[in-house]
Symmetry: C2
Subunit: 467 residues, 2 copies
């Protein structure tokens, strides 16, 4: 009897052909589910499976075909639920989960000046950011997000915690004109961003980025310097854009231009730019963004809760802009559940356009997956279940009373499903959560650490409290 080694050697040498009936060994099969592929034809396989080897998807097909072609060393059973691409949260500030519910229902300036700025000034440290990122990662894994776009301080700490949790991240070090917890000046921030980007070059999970906060919180020189760093290091740029009416009006008063046109005049727009919000874009602005293939991150819950306004997503989509979905930071939403973002996107635009056909369920799912991938320039790697792409896959239960009966899985994903229905989360071929048990984080330790940090936050916003 031949040894395994001699068999492999024979196959490699071409002296032995592998029979098509011989199942190929792969690392992981996700089986027994309704596969929502999000591929070009938006194929939905009612009884399907996904074969994964190492970090990549190798096949997506009918359950029987996968069973015949592959044997897996590890198996995830979807139990009749949905197997779909991991969700892509295109805009958040992960560590701000530690501020969630600290102060709500306030006008923006009161909220920032009385609560968020004092709390940040007194509490944000590498330790705080690590604890916050771990909590955010726990919440994201538990609710089916596999890739997220971040903008905060001490971004290298966020990157390390994200990698440890096993999530994929496009992580932007924030640049801002005034002193912030990790930089006294914008120049210091830019130097930190350069070190960060160089330090995480070619990482399998982390795409380091530079994130000038907004056009109104940075001067022209800083904005230009950020673009130069991004170009030199081939890094994405993340920016808040046209979020509030104040930003749009301020830009007109100061520069006699919209925020988009002002940034255009600086030469700020370049490759792989992710603009968050886009609430106050004009139709001309949309044409500029579409022509340059910029992605927009739409954050319906944050825009509603902060009364920022309505982002005209149907028009953006018609203009050809790739629009992804985001939750925004948990200080303004207050959670990171992308199923809520999908539902809100589907609800909001129907109301605002008076058209119940605006953003139907399948489009909301596109925005949370393949369109999100396009918006962040990663649609060749993620966003759909297709052979050759990274194996970022989630399994969503369809067994709740509120999901019964089941006529249409796409409708249920958007209109009756919660993040808590996610049963398994897989990133880069690695199972991060199985049967709702997160494998890469010590859940109780993460929650305990977060509660300890919250005690510091409470002290910081107490009248007369903090340093």
């Amino acid at each position: 009897m031949r040894t395994l080694f001699s068999l492999i050697a024979a196959v490699c040498a071409g002296t032995l052909s592998v029979s098509p009936l011989q199942p190929r060994p792969v690392s992981l099969v996700v089986a027994n589910g309704i596969v929502v592929t999000e591929n070009q034809s938006r194929r939905v396989i009612q009884r399907g499976a996904v074969a994964i080897d190492g970090r990549d998807i190798v096949a997506v097909d009918e359950a029987e075909a996968i069973a015949a072609r592959f044997t897996a060393s590890e198996r995830v059973d979807a139990d009749g639920g949905v197997i779909m691409p991991g969700l892509i949260n295109t805009h958040t500030h992960a560590p701000m989960v530690l501020f969630r519910g600290l102060a709500d229902d306030l006008a923006l300036m009161e909220w920032l000046q009385k609560y968020i700025f004092p709390a940040e000034a007194k509490t944000v440290s590498p330790e705080f950011v690590r604890a916050g990122t771990r909590l955010a990662a726990l919440e994201m894994i538990e609710s089916g997000t596999t890739t997220y776009v971040d903008m905060y301080y001490f971004e290298e700490e966020i990157a390390r915690a994200t990698r440890e949790a096993g999530l994929r991240g496009v992580l932007g070090e924030t640049i801002i004109q005034f002193p912030v917890p990790d930089a006294k000046t914008p120049a210091e921030g830019i130097a930190r961003a350069e070190r960060f980007i160089e330090g995480f070059a070619d990482d399998d999970l982390i795409t380091p980025a530079i994130a000038p906060h907004a056009m109104y919180t940075n001067d022209a020189a800083t904005l230009k310097a950020c673009r130069a760093v991004a170009d030199r290091l081939h890094a994405p740029v993340i920016i808040h854009l046209a979020e509030t009416k104040d930003e749009a009006n301020g830009s007109q008063q100061k520069h006699h231009k919209t925020p988009v046109a002002y940034l255009d005049s600086l030469g700020f727009w370049g490759p792989r730019t992710i603009a968050a919000h886009g609430v106050w874009l004009t139709s001309d602005d949309m044409r500029v963004l579409a022509r340059r293939h910029f992605g927009v991150s739409h954050n319906p819950e944050s825009n509603m809760k902060l009364a920022s306004g309505w982002a005209r997503v149907p028009e953006m989509r018609r203009a050809g802009i790739p629009v992804g979905l985001g939750t925004d930071g948990a200080a303004s939403n207050n959670d990171l559940d992308m199923f809520e973002a999908m539902r809100q996107a589907a609800f909001l635009h129907k109301l605002m356009t008076n058209d119940p056909r605006a953003i139907p369920a399948p489009v909301a799912i596109d925005m949370a997956t393949i369109d999100g991938a396009r918006a962040i320039g990663m649609d060749r790697e993620i966003g759909s279940l297709e052979p050759g792409k990274r194996a970022d896959v989630i399994v969503v239960s369809m067994r709740a009373a509120r999901q019964t009966p089941l006529y249409d899985a796409l409708s249920h994903l958007v209109y009756v499903t919660r993040g808590d229905d996610v049963r398994a989360t897989i990133v880069n071929g690695k199972v991060l959560m199985r049967d709702r048990r997160v494998l890469t984080l010590d859940r109780e330790a993460v929650l305990t650490e977060a509660r300890a940090m919250a005690a510091r936050v409470r002290e910081a916003v107490r009248p007369g409290g903090g340093k």
Copy 2:
């Protein structure tokens, strides 16, 4: 040693006084939680408990005080979560859960004519309504609703299934001008409604009602006849009101009046009337409703999903109208989760008024509890945790990652909590769900039965299918 009987006799005779240290036996204590009372002063007790005897609340106080004053034969531990009044869903069509997700993202008329009407005509029967109500009851118990207002066909079947599940219901037999599954004519429907109301008089859980569908689906004679029945039998009246622009425009064209003024001119408005939606009310309409103490049921998710428009709830509240929250039927929402309704109410009005202070979290909670009770004329019995009121109580976990840290329970209830976080549901002093296990329904049997009914629905809407 005295017998228990002689002790009681002595107490009653006044010859023996009960020591204040002697704990009083009660049937149930809900302990170890943050008690959100929703009483007049909106007291929140950070470490509190609720004592219940039989169907009534006997005390709401600090945990230590309750422990000292009462011994309970049954105990529910809130594990540091929230203890609050059961949620009141002021508008739904319970059995329509069997149509959820059947057809979404369509214009209203296409949705009704191609899907809902054919499906109803071919499937709605007493058996169908029972199965649907059981599924809806399961979902409501699992998501913390303890009282709901319904409007559908075969309402006596709904009432029986509701009572068996242990829920409280204000249940209205639908009256409509054209033939419907349980009545060929409105006169037949009204006769059925009378029998139904008489059959459930003085029921502890069921308040039978009459529900003329809308001013545009009934003629003047039918509307007047409904009011006469309600007056004679002291029953509530439930009606859809000013839901769509078409209804408002149609009323102007046909009657040269708003729907409210038209109904006023018929003498339709009388005691205990619950009007669903109120999207297209004028300020004059609001004054009419306020003067007559009518309740409005606000259904933000349904109004958004069907693109019906924005109900001006902040203005209604300022006008003095009691406004409760509803989910509407699951064919148009698509679930019965009142936490989603609270969050949507908080989000929607901030956006539409450009004011992040509009409908803050505590007001959204009011609308789902005490204001809902006021809107349906039951605020002396339910809607808050106060001694003497019925013991309709829920326990909500605060241990999810997305609920960590916890600064403010009221914020968390609205912005990060889901129906699935409800751990225990108590109605009329009876525990319907404990540790997420529903005790009054066989969960698997209910889901299986619902799936069997769904097969009939699928057949009914299949081109060329059904009868």
